[in-house]
């Protein structure tokens, strides 16, 4: 009557053993973590630092080494949610069309007359022509600059929209081009942030795209969000402009194709520069922190061939006139060109400290962010607070476990003992599964585990109560146990499916800590159903087979 097939027994025991094995590394968290770090270093660079070397032998290779990741609220670190100002890019993209548009319109000068650039909102280029009759030719000439879009969704469309009204030609990016640009901008930003964070050498950062224009950055172990912001919040847009005048004043109105830029060192001093840069940081291939001939910290740079050519031609043609090196809308330095610079490399000397020079070179090397970032959310959690939370959570879990254990044994005697054994296995399985899928444990996640400890016995309680009832109708102990499990099943399944639905919704809609809670809750449901239906049943059957009791008391 009360039987479980041998293969089922083996399967249950093996599943438990496997779960326990997967959970085990978490008991030796520090050791396994160093072991994993050492292996990662070995994989990436092919070598291990002397410091990490002994860690390789601290943990046997045959054992699993997956760990439960600790969330930022437990480990400490910084969390930033950044929004990429996608429209920044439209501006520079449109800006880049101006020289070409000017040339194109000059070619048809006899029809459109003279041309003049007009003030326009950001992301729009407006050109006034002196012969309104030629507007159609003007539009056609500018439209010729359009190129087809290379993206899946934008097939057959071009990158710019050109319209003419009265004597004004207006150029904007097309809808499809904006979408394609947005996507590219975000990908680039992601890539550049990742490179910068990696260059700074922090461990296991999470850098994820969120939604259409957001990037989530989580860096464990970093001191503060401000520090992280300094690293990734700087655009590091480097450009080289011809200088129109060194004597600018704040608020001075300048020509449409000129820029008014303050000096980095003396904010009161302003330069008037040509708006279109000669070369930009995009053409940089390398940058290093160094010292100039006077021993002052400097930053060296090297252009790619294209940049080197443009820079060489410009410097050759403008010997004796100044040009400005502009970093994020501030003039770093504005030297006079002494001779043509054809080698494609140079150095920037400003008023840097050694650290500043090094950081700037990291930023230049990693590349400029294509657009500015605004930070929507930032959280810093100190490692001590995280450790306090882990300790408190640990104590609370142990006390909770002990309390439930005593309660169950008092209420159900031997059967209660079976249930608590299953509960222990259940908690181990939760950790095993979390380690297997690389889940993240957060503080609410610990609460989820404690809640699971309390609720996991529910299925057993349902079964035991049912067995008690079935015993009243006196069908013999074996039959009562059998029926108890059978008849309690539908309630167990229904009750757990509804909770699982909730966990799924929490997972889909939540973020960070809440998501961590959803994961432990969901996993807890799966493992608790398994342990209370299969594991306790197996324990009871094994006991029953040995003892063959005539009566049982539940």
């Amino acid at each position: 009557m009360l039987q479980i097939a041998l293969w089922k027994r083996l399967l249950i025991v093996l599943t438990c053993a496997f779960g326990l094995l997967l959970a085990m590394p978490n008991l030796f968290y520090g050791t396994v973590e160093r072991y994993n770090d050492a292996h990662l270093a070995l994989e990436r660079t092919g070598a291990v630092s002397a410091e990490l070397e002994p860690a390789l032998d601290d943990w046997p290779d045959v054992l699993p080494s997956g760990l439960v990741n600790l969330g930022l609220d437990l480990r400490g670190g910084a969390h930033l949610l950044a929004e990429v100002q996608l429209s920044d890019v439209y501006e520079s993209r449109v800006e880049a069309f101006w020289p070409d548009a000017r040339d194109a319109l000059r070619d048809v000068r006899d029809q459109v007359g003279t041309i003049r650039r007009q003030d326009a909102p950001a992301g729009e280029l407006r050109i006034r022509i002196s012969e309104p009759a030629g507007i159609q030719q003007a539009v056609a000439a500018v439209r010729d600059l359009a190129s087809p879009i290379q993206s899946l969704t934008g097939v057959g469309q071009t990158d710019i929209d050109v319209t003419g009204a009265g004597d004004i030609v207006t150029l904007t990016l097309s809808e499809a081009e904006r979408a394609a640009t947005d996507d590219r901008t975000l990908q680039q930003s992601l890539e550049i942030i990742r490179r910068r964070v990696d260059e700074a050498g922090t461990r296991e950062p999470t850098i994820q795209r969120q939604g259409a224009d957001r990037i989530l950055i989580q860096v464990p172990g970093i001191g503060s969000a401000a520090e992280l912001k300094e690293l990734i919040g700087t655009t590091a847009q480097l450009t080289f402009h011809p200088v129109v005048s060194r004597q600018g004043t704040a608020g001075q109105s300048v020509d449409i194709d000129e820029l008014l830029v303050p000096d980095l060192e003396f904010p009161d001093q302003y330069y008037v520069l040509e708006r279109t840069p000669v070369v930009t940081g995009d053409d940089l291939v390398d940058s290093q922190g160094a010292f100039d001939q006077n021993g002052r910290p400097a930053v060296t740079f090297r252009f790619n061939p294209q940049g080197a050519r443009a820079f060489g031609q410009y410097t050759a043609a403008n010997i004796g006139s100044p040009f400005a090196i502009v970093l994020d809308d501030e003039v770093v330095t504005a030297p006079v060109i002494q001779s043509a610079i054809t080698g494609g490399s140079g150095q920037i000397t400003g008023n840097f400290t050694v650290e500043e020079a090094n950081r700037l070179s990291i930023l230049l090397r990693a590349g400029a962010l294509p657009a500015e970032l605004t930070f929507l959310e930032e959280r810093t959690i100190g490692p001590e607070l995280g450790q306090d939370s882990i300790d408190a959570g640990q104590i609370a879990s142990i006390v909770a476990m002990a309390a439930v254990l005593v309660f169950m044994i008092l209420a159900y005697g031997l059967f209660g003992t079976f249930a608590t054994v299953a509960l222990g296995i259940n908690v181990a399985l939760i950790f095993g599964l979390l380690s297997l899928i690389g889940g993240t444990l957060t503080l609410p996640g610990i609460a989820g585990i404690v809640l699971t400890i309390g609720m996991a016995v529910d299925a057993n309680v349902l079964v035991f109560e049912r067995i008690r009832e079935e015993l009243k109708t006196a069908k013999g102990p074996a039959r009562a146990i059998e029926l108890g499990y059978e008849r309690a099943l539908s309630a167990i399944v229904d009750a757990n499916i509804t909770t699982f639905i909730i966990a799924t919704i929490l997972f889909t809609l939540g973020s960070g800590p809440v998501r961590g809670f959803a994961v432990t809750l969901g996993i807890g449901i799966l493992t608790s159903v398994f342990t209370s239906i299969f594991v306790t049943r197996l324990l009871i059957v094994l006991w029953f087979e040995r003892r063959r009791p005539r009566t049982i008391q539940v």
């Binding site: 930070f375 959280r379 959690i381 959570g393 404690v450 349902l462 309630a491 919704i505």
Partner: protein
Amino acid sequence: MRLRLVPQETNFDFFRYRKITFGGSIIAMIASILIWLTVGLNFGIDFLGGTTIRTEATSEVSVADYREALAPLDLGDITISEVFDPTFEEGQHVAQVRIQAQEGQESVTPDVICAVEDALRVVDPSITFPSVESVGPKVSGELIQTALLAVAASLGAILIYIWLRFEWQFSVGAIAALVHDVILTIGVFSLLQIRFDLATIAALLTIIGYSINDTVVLFDRLRENLIKFKKTALQEVMNRSTNETLSRTLMTSGTTLLALLALLILGGDVIRGFVFAIFWGVIVGTYSSVYVAKNVVLMLGLDREPKKPDAGMQVPVGDEA
């Protein structure tokens, strides 16, 4: 000797004091809504935007001194509250400084945070800042939306699931019980001015999950008994089912509350609000399964025309309605 929360055989009439229990629930709900509307919830920065800074010092926290130090910074509304917790060590004094969202800014700039930290360091040189969190108004607005959506989606999903598994009256009863639990929890949070943030929403959903669990177990037994006792009055079958499952209901609530109590006392102040919400929810959830869900089903009445015999509960029947 066995620990029994209830006698082996119980025969309570759960509908006897229906006016008091059901009426009491309705009054409690109305009271909760009134408190909610008049006192309001103490929203955290997740929903309001702003910055919270946790401070830790070896000397006593003086809220007045902190306030005075921060006043010249002109940061608008600043709330400072001392945090107490049994897990703190001797000489560990913690406070929470909350600064409202600044006009025209998303998250607070590092300058502002630095200024605040410097000002507080003058008051107490031993002060450290274990956590600094800042949420901009854009994100907080979205978080509110997400939270509401999550609660609505959960209720909707459960409505549909119970409807498929049981009959529509059950599903209405279950939702009534859930709404009851959620409203009472919001009421308590308004009354005690506990911080209401994203974690609280997660707790609310957990309460929904727990309460529905309880309700489903009861409904499952009710369904079984309705087949067994075809001629008995609905109210009596309900009473019988409740009595039969009473022991289990209290056992499970007991173990869950026991585990949560450990967390509530020992788990630290960071998640106390979250744990308190679940703790409270388990209590009202247990109550509502026994006293609210069934009453609603009874009021709606059930169509008890003989149907084709149920093959058995172990077969997951897709639809019985």
